[in-house]
Structure formats: structure tokens, C-alpha cells
């Protein structure tokens, strides 16, 4: 069996390529938009092809002869739906029978709807541009099911964690600095999926034949709160008494910088930004930075202080664990999920390697 990893140099793609290069079982071909992705992959000796998901011809050539395609593309929100369309069409042209698309649990926002299922409609009005783009892509993919193209399986992880993940490095850095902060005592649900569990879900779909199509939530087995997650990270880092700060959900106000960022993320703003020369953008940024910068004292004591950004606040107020029965019924047989404790032990080994553990 041969699978094409489109966007194979990202976090998930690199781990898939590593596993397949070291253990085998499935032949992987990394499909890269440019050579720089090889910085992650060349060490494994994984074969690669150049192909761009914004260019049907190049992509179709890149996936020729594959039995499945995994869409792991990242980046510009405006490209999420068009890229998925191109990949689906390339699969159809080259008769690739299976299209595995990586969506995101972000389409359900804070998972606040009662009785949420894999097929519940997304809360469009509450979502950011990324989640809206993912939701639109899911809608389009649903419409293609049964239209004679490849079998479509969209997997919906929320927070992919493990060695090297931003959902490990950011909290770990905050814990180390004594700046980590929990909303409402960390009672919110942390919808985690360990990288190797997600990898096994993808392999289970790739190895299946003629099974269910559709959109599936995927996650770790356990229900984890943010408090449990932060305390487990702190313990793994060797922090015996972690300095945790607490705020109430209602006490957080969206900072001006974030509101500006939201405006800048708008597709129209992004288009305008793309035509402004780099030097001018840098100059404007420096000028604006100078306006808001406070004078820096020559010397100051460093004291731990709570730090909370909008994304962290939003995600820490997640209400429910997304249900995964649909995936487990269709594909779950034979997947040996790694437990939270084992996953944390492995992540601890990586945090030690990466310098996130207490001296």
C-alpha cells in the first residue's frame, strides 16, 4: 500500500513519515510544495515528490499510483477549501480510491451545544476564520460523498499533543516561567489527541477497505480537564509546586492587539497585505511597535505574572469532550490507543530533551 502525505513536512506529516520510514508496513510518499520541507524529512530518506495543492496538474502527477492521499496542508485559511477541492479532484482523475482529510474539532467552537454529535452542524457565527474555513470544507466534502470520486474520510482532532507539539511547548514554557494561567480553575475540557493516537487513526483508515465515509471526531480515550493537563505537564517537568494563576472566565477581556489581529486575518485584509512590499510592512510594524512600546528599565527583577491570550482563554472554556463513538465503531477495532499517562511519560522524555524540565 502506498500513501501520499500532502503537506507532509508539518507536525503530523513528519511523525507519519518517521513512523513509516522506521517501521514500514505502508509506503509513504511526501508531497511537498517546496524543497524546504526536506529539512524535516530528508533524515528519514522518505521519497518525495513536488506538488502544489493549488495546482491540479502538479498535484495529480504527484499522487499518481497512490492508494490513499492524506491532506495535511496548513497555512493560509483562504486556501483550506480550494486545496481540498483540488486534492479531491486529483484523486478522482488519478483514480486514487481514498481521500483522508484532516479537519478540526474547532468547527464546534467550545463544544457548547447540547448532545453534540459528529454530524452536528458547526456553529458558524461563533467561529474564527480558520474554523469557518474548516467547516465550509467539511460541508463541501459531505456534498461530494456518493458522487463517484474517492472515498472521503475526514478526521476531526482538536488539540494534537505530544513531543514537539505547540500544545506542549507553550504551556511548558509558561509553567517554567511561572506565568501559566487557568480559567475557572481549569475545569474546562481539554480535547486532546496524542500524536501517535492520531497517527494510528489515520493508518486504521488507510488500511480499511470499503468502510464508512464521512466526518469523524477523533480523540484520546480519556476525558481530561485543563487543570489535570497542566498539573500532569508540571509533574513531568519536575516542577513540584507549579506556580499556577487562576482567572474567572468573565474576567478576561479581549485585548486590543487581538482585535486588530482578527481584522488583519480577514481575507480582504490578507489580500491587501500580500501586495504591500516587505520593507514597507516591516517599517509600519516597527513604527506601530514604537508607538505602543513602553520604555524598558535598564535593570528589573523578573517576577512571575499571569499571562493569558485570547486563544488560550477561548480553548480553556471548552465545555464537552467531542464524542468519538462513530469513529471507534467504524475504524476503532484494533487501534491500541496510548493512555494519557503513557503519552505524558513519552512527552516528558521529549521535554527533558528540549530543555523544558526544571534544572
Amino acid at each position: 500500500m502506498r500513501i501520499a502525505l500532502i503537506g507532509g513536512a508539518g507536525y503530523v506529516g513528519t511523525r507519519l513519515a518517521q513512523r513509516l520510514a522506521l517501521v514500514g508496513g505502508i509506503e509513504a510518499i511526501a508531497v511537498l510544495r517546496s524543497y524546504h520541507g526536506l529539512s524535516q524529512l530528508s533524515r528519514f530518506g522518505v521519497p518525495y515528490r513536488l506538488g502544489d495543492a493549488s495546482n491540479l496538474k502538479s498535484l495529480a502527477e504527484a499522487i499518481e499510483g497512490c492508494d490513499a492521499v492524506v491532506n495535511l496542508t496548513m497555512g493560509n485559511n483562504g486556501r483550506i477549501l480550494p486545496d481540498a477541492k483540488v486534492i479531491w479532484e486529483a484523486c478522482r482523475i488519478k483514480a486514487v480510491p481514498l481521500f483522508i482529510h484532516l479537519s478540526s474539532g474547532a468547527v464546534h467552537g467550545r463544544a457548547a451545544q447540547p448532545n453534540l454529535s459528529d454530524d452536528s452542524p458547526p456553529e458558524h457565527g461563533l467561529l474564527d476564520y480558520y474554523a469557518r474555513a474548516k467547516a465550509r470544507t467539511e460541508t463541501w466534502l459531505r456534498e461530494q460523498i456518493g458522487k463517484g470520486g474517492p472515498r472521503i474520510v475526514a478526521l476531526r482532532p482538536v488539540l494534537i499533543w505530544g513531543p514537539g507539539s505547540g500544545w506542549v511547548t507553550r504551556p511548558a514554557a509558561a509553567l517554567l516561567a511561572g506565568n501559566a494561567c487557568l480559567v475557572d480553575e481549569g475545569k474546562g475540557i481539554c480535547n486532546l489527541i496524542y500524536i501517535d493516537n492520531l497517527m494510528e487513526c489515520i493508518f486504521a483508515v488507510a488500511r480499511s477497505e470499503g468502510k464508512a465515509e464521512g466526518i469523524f471526531n477523533v480523540s484520546d480515550k480519556e476525558e481530561t480537564t485543563w487543570r489535570k493537563y497542566y498539573l500532569a505537564l508540571a509533574q513531568a517537568m519536575g516542577l513540584e509546586e507549579p506556580h499556577l494563576h487562576y482567572i474567572k472566565e468573565s474576567d478576561f477581556h479581549e485585548p486590543l492587539a487581538n482585535q486588530i489581529q482578527v481584522i488583519l486575518e480577514h481575507p480582504v485584509a490578507k489580500k491587501v497585505k500580500s501586495v504591500i512590499p516587505k520593507d514597507i510592512k516591516k517599517g509600519v510594524k516597527a513604527w506601530l511597535g514604537g508607538l505602543v512600546a513602553k520604555p524598558r528599565p535598564a535593570e528589573r527583577l523578573i517576577l512571575p505574572c499571569p499571562q493569558m491570550d485570547y486563544v488560550t482563554w477561548w480553548i480553556q472554556t471548552t465545555r464537552c469532550k467531542l464524542p468519538t463513538a462513530k469513529f471507534n465503531n467504524a475504524y476503532g477495532n484494533g487501534i491500541a490507543y496510548i493512555s494519557f499517562e503513557e503519552a505524558m511519560a513519552r512527552t516528558a522524555a521529549w521535554m527533558q530533551f528540549a530543555g523544558f524540565c526544571a534544572a
Partner: protein, 367 residues
């Protein structure tokens, strides 16, 4: 008005477009330099740069470039395996040389280059913009003043996924590039440690490359005359990045994202943030030029080119001498010579065994 310096560029790849072109255009507007020649075997690469420097003539071979132009400063930005003949040719044609790191691909070639540079009046500098990180310069001063006390240990981590717009896969093939993240980011780290502690000795080196590829992670243990420690670089993951130095009397942490300050504490006391004051001349000509403190890597790049031109025009010291480039290359070469497979405790047993079995050095030694 002092005379503009003629610049010739050998190698018109991504590094010139990304790092040099914008700065050299600024220098041209100030009438400090004039880019007169661009040399690259690929016409398309030359033509891309000629759009930025329309007055520059294109050459396919460096020998032709020196026959056709009077070059005051040659910027050598080709792949390292080509550096030696290009630098020697530039020196023979009485040009100063600013050579991208690593200075050469082997220590033998670097020794030859240093020898040639010593015997000729024109000088060679190696591109190491991180020498212009104010925080590192001030910590180097504290180390020299012995403020840290005895038994200095350090740990230098630099892990950031690479976003380099490579025009080919040459950088990622061992036979063409010579190595991966150690050669790329390790050169900078070793040079910064050299600036602080003096010449190092490589004690061990572990990397993650299987046969046929180049490493994306490397860990090296090093000893210096008065310090010892670990350096670690990654193209794969973000680490808790920075340099921490611990002595009996003082401890410091230098954040790679905030080069204008550093943290200090005395024997388990509270951490203090100290703003660095180090600055450098920002103008090529004149005896009392405007001073500038760089805020980021790009500004460091600017200052090192100003420093190079000032070395040519005002007799200021060369920013990073070829001898230092040679020391770094000796460490890189030794690291690759003794490289062992890196242990990944977070992978399962089967994967760890495969890494050990298929490590590039093992394969090479067997062959």
C-alpha cells in the same frame, strides 16, 4: 565624498536574495557601495538578482568576473564546497572577501584558505551575524572578567523549524551539502560559544540522520579551557531556546528572541533582566559614525556588512576572522567524524532500534 566600493557577488541563491540584496540596495542609495558583478552558473538566478541590481554584469564563472571587473569586496555565497577556489581567486585579484558560513566544506580547505589569507594584504571575513547580538557580547565580556567564578557549565539550545526558501534539494543531500542542522545552525552556535569561551574541543556528537539524509537534530558536548557544556540544534521542533551559563558566583540566561537583554542572578538569588548597551557603527564612512543597537537578526546582518566595509575603509577590525571560521569548521568536522545515533526516549523500542541500525555513520563505517 569617499569613493563607493565595488561589490562582486559569487553565488546568486536564496541567501543573497533573502539576506544581502535589501541591505546592499540601501548601501547603494547611501553611495557606500556599488554592486558591479553577479556570478552564478545558473542564468535564471543571475537574472533574478540583476532585476534588483540592474547595473551589475552577470558572469557564469568567477575567473571571468575578476578579469572583467575591479572588485573591492567579494561576497562569496555559493555552496561551501566551491568557496576555497573562489576566495583564493578573489584574494589574488586584490579583493577583500566576505565569505558565507561555513567558510569551507573541510578543515583542510579552511587551513589552506587561512594560510593564503595570511600571506596576502587583503583580508577574509566569515559571515556570522550573531556576533552582533548585544546580549552575547556583554556576556562574553562578563566571562572574560571572570564574573561567573569557577566551574562554568552551559547549555545552548536552538530549535526552530526551518523556513528557508531553498531553490533545490542540494541542502538536504549529505553528499552535496555535507550535513544538515549542525552545519547550518551549529556553525552559528559554535561561533557564538567561541566568542564567549574561546576554542572548543568536541567530546561527543549525536544526530538523527539515517543513511542518505541529513540530520534535523544534533546534540554535541563540548569542553573549553574554563567551561564545558552541551549545544543542541533542531530544524524540527521549538525548544526552550537560549544559552544558559552557570558558574559558582553567577548564572545567566540569554534568550535568542530578545537579543537586547539578558537575565542574571547571583547564587540562587532572584533573576534580574539587564538591558544590553552594546552598539556598533551604522555608517561606513567617518570617524564618529551614528551608533546602532540591533533588535533582530536582519539588523545584525546589516551591521556586520557595515563593519566589513569599515574594516576596508577605516581600518576597523575585521568582524569575524578566517581563523575563527577555521576553528568552527574543525569542530563541525570532528562532530561528523564521531557522530552517533541520537536516542529518542519518546519513541517505541522498535523505532529506536531502527534509528540505531540505520544511522548514517554506521552505514558509512560498514561501507
Amino acid at each position: 565624498m569617499p569613493q563607493e566600493k565595488n561589490i562582486g557577488i559569487i553565488g546568486c541563491g536564496a541567501v543573497v536574495e533573502e539576506c544581502y540584496a535589501g541591505i546592499l540596495r540601501k548601501f547603494e542609495r547611501q553611495h557606500w557601495v556599488r554592486v558591479v558583478a553577479l556570478c552564478d552558473p545558473q542564468v535564471t538566478r543571475r537574472e533574478r538578482l540583476q532585476r534588483i541590481f540592474p547595473r551589475a554584469r552577470g558572469y557564469a564563472r568567477h575567473e571571468e568576473m575578476f578579469q572583467g571587473e575591479r572588485i573591492d569586496l567579494t561576497i562569496v555565497a555559493s555552496p561551501p564546497t566551491f568557496h576555497l577556489p573562489q576566495v583564493l581567486c578573489a584574494l589574488e585579484h586584490e579583493s577583500y572577501v566576505f565569505c558565507e558560513k561555513p567558510m569551507t566544506s573541510t578543515a583542510a580547505a579552511a587551513e589552506q584558505l587561512v594560510l593564503a589569507a595570511r600571506s596576502l594584504p587583503h583580508r577574509v571575513a566569515v559571515g556570522m551575524p550573531r556576533r552582533f547580538y548585544p546580549s552575547f557580547v556583554e556576556i562574553a565580556r562578563l566571562v572574560k572578567e571572570e564574573a561567573f567564578g569557577d566551574q562554568i557549565t552551559f547549555c545552548f539550545r536552538d530549535g526552530v523549524p526551518v523556513q528557508w526558501p531553498s531553490a533545490s534539494d542540494n541542502l538536504f543531500q549529505r553528499e552535496k551539502a555535507g550535513g544538515g542542522v549542525l552545519l547550518d545552525r551549529g556553525s552559528h552556535i559554535l561561533d557564538q560559544l567561541l566568542m564567549i569561551f574561546g576554542a572548543p574541543k568536541v567530546l561527543s556528537c549525536h544526530d538523527d540522520s539515517l543513511a542518505g539524509g541529513v540530520e534535523a537534530n544534533v546534540v554535541m558536548t563540548l569542553s573549553f579551557p574554563h567551561a564545558s557544556g552541551v549545544m543542541q540544534a533542531s530544524w524540527e521542533s521549538i525548544f526552550n531556546n537560549g544559552l544558559s551559563i552557570r558558574g559558582q558566583d553567577l548564572e545567566a540566561f540569554l534568550d535568542l528572541q530578545d537579543i537586547g537583554a539578558y537575565r542574571l542572578r547571583k547564587a540562587n538569588g532572584p533573576w534580574k533582566e539587564i538591558v544590553a548597551r552594546q552598539s556598533w557603527p551604522a555608517e561606513v564612512f567617518g570617524t564618529s559614525p551614528r551608533q546602532m543597537q540591533p533588535k533582530d537578526y536582519g539588523e545584525c546582518f546589516y551591521l556586520q556588512l557595515v563593519a566589513m566595509l569599515r574594516a576596508m575603509t577605516c581600518g576597523d577590525p575585521i568582524p569575524v576572522e578566517a581563523e575563527d571560521g577555521l576553528t568552527v569548521i574543525r569542530c563541525l568536522e570532528e562532530g561528523y567524524r564521531i557522530a552517533q545515533p541520537l536516542q529518542f526516549g519518546w519513541l517505541d523500542k522498535q523505532e529506536q532500534e531502527a534509528i540505531i541500525k540505520r544511522h548514517w555513520r554506521g552505514k558509512q563505517l560498514c561501507a
